[in-house]
């Protein structure tokens, strides 16, 4: 990205310093936006060794083939989206080089690599009431017996399409959402968390 272009989080008017200061003590949930994470949509045939070798060579990851699971590498994380599609998530700014490198490594193969970084944003939700709040708009069972380490899932939270990822047993869950839905999701979270208290943080 050119230095002259300023990136702006879709939540810039929600996650303000005033909102941070208005956060209650002992909040039931804490929302932490993680804007600008690199996000690449990758498609290809995981039964084709040439494809998986090339992806491993660039990302260091063996693409997960078990539905709704995550594979972590040093620089990148792969989330299963469907039998031939993954999100590759990495550090902010890493997307441009990675797209170029992947396209070179996969040249001649049947694949698709698309940078969707600017179309997505990420919210990290943590705190003791995380599952109670999400349960108000999500039909997935997020109990750790059903949704634990290494798992992700595409689903709906109050009509908004999200990818939920298990982070830790705080509990912390991560929501990837299209940036145009981020404001809606934030307002929904504020409402759903009203009875528990919602903190916002940088």
């Amino acid at each position: 990205m050119s230095e002259s272009i300023r990136q702006e989080s879709p939540l810039v008017e929600r996650n303000t310093r005033a909102r941070h200061q208005a956060s209650p003590a002992n909040a039931g949930i804490t929302v932490r936006p993680r804007p600008f994470l690199a996000c690449i949509n990758l498609r290809g045939d995981p039964s084709d060794g040439a494809f998986t070798d090339a992806v491993r060579g660039v990302t260091g990851i063996d693409l997960p083939t078990t539905p709704n699971t995550v594979a972590d590498g040093d620089q990148w994380r792969a989330l299963w989206l469907c039998p031939d599609e993954w999100y590759l998530v990495g550090a902010p700014g890493a997307e441009n080089d990675a797209v170029d490198t992947l396209e070179q490594a996969l040249a001649g193969q049947h694949f698709a690599v698309n940078d969707v970084t600017s179309g997505m944003t990420t919210l990290e939700i943590s705190g003791p009431r995380t599952r109670d709040v999400l349960a108000k708009g999500c039909t997935l069972d997020l109990h750790p017996r059903m949704f634990g380490p290494g798992q992700c899932a595409q689903t709906l939270i109050s009509h908004a399409g999200v990818v939920i990822r298990y982070v830790d047993d705080q509990p912390t869950l991560e929501l990837m959402v299209r940036r145009s839905f981020a404001d809606y999701l934030w307002v929904w979270l504020e409402d759903a968390a009203l009875e528990y208290g919602m903190a916002a943080t940088e």
Binding site: N68, C82, P83, Q154
Partner: protein
């Protein structure tokens, strides 16, 4: 609310799915060779059974794969879920 088993993602709520009508309807090899009545039969006529119905669903809010299911049209009970390209459990009807 129905509870539906995506062949990839497992049991999910009906709100994540879309319905695609009767399954296993084969597009005619050579539409130009058909009469209007035969083409209309392909396009519009469905078996509409009372009881076991083989039908298509798509996991719209999840993995976005199409798959097939067998559902009882009287009780709404699902009898089976199977991937596209797989034979219906219980064989041809």
């Amino acid at each position: 609310m129905l509870y539906i088993k995506c062949p990839w993602c497992g049991w999910r709520d009906e709100s994540e799915f879309g319905y695609g009508g009767e399954a296993h309807i084969k597009r005619p090899e050579d539409p130009d060779a058909l009469s209007d009545a035969e083409w209309a039969d392909y396009l519009f006529m469905r078996t509409n059974p009372r009881g076991s119905h083989r039908e298509r669903w798509v996991h719209t809010a999840g993995c976005r794969r199409w798959f097939n299911a067998i559902r009882d049209t009287q009780t709404y009970e699902f009898k089976a879920f199977y991937k596209m390209g797989e034979e219906p459990p219980g064989g041809e009807q």
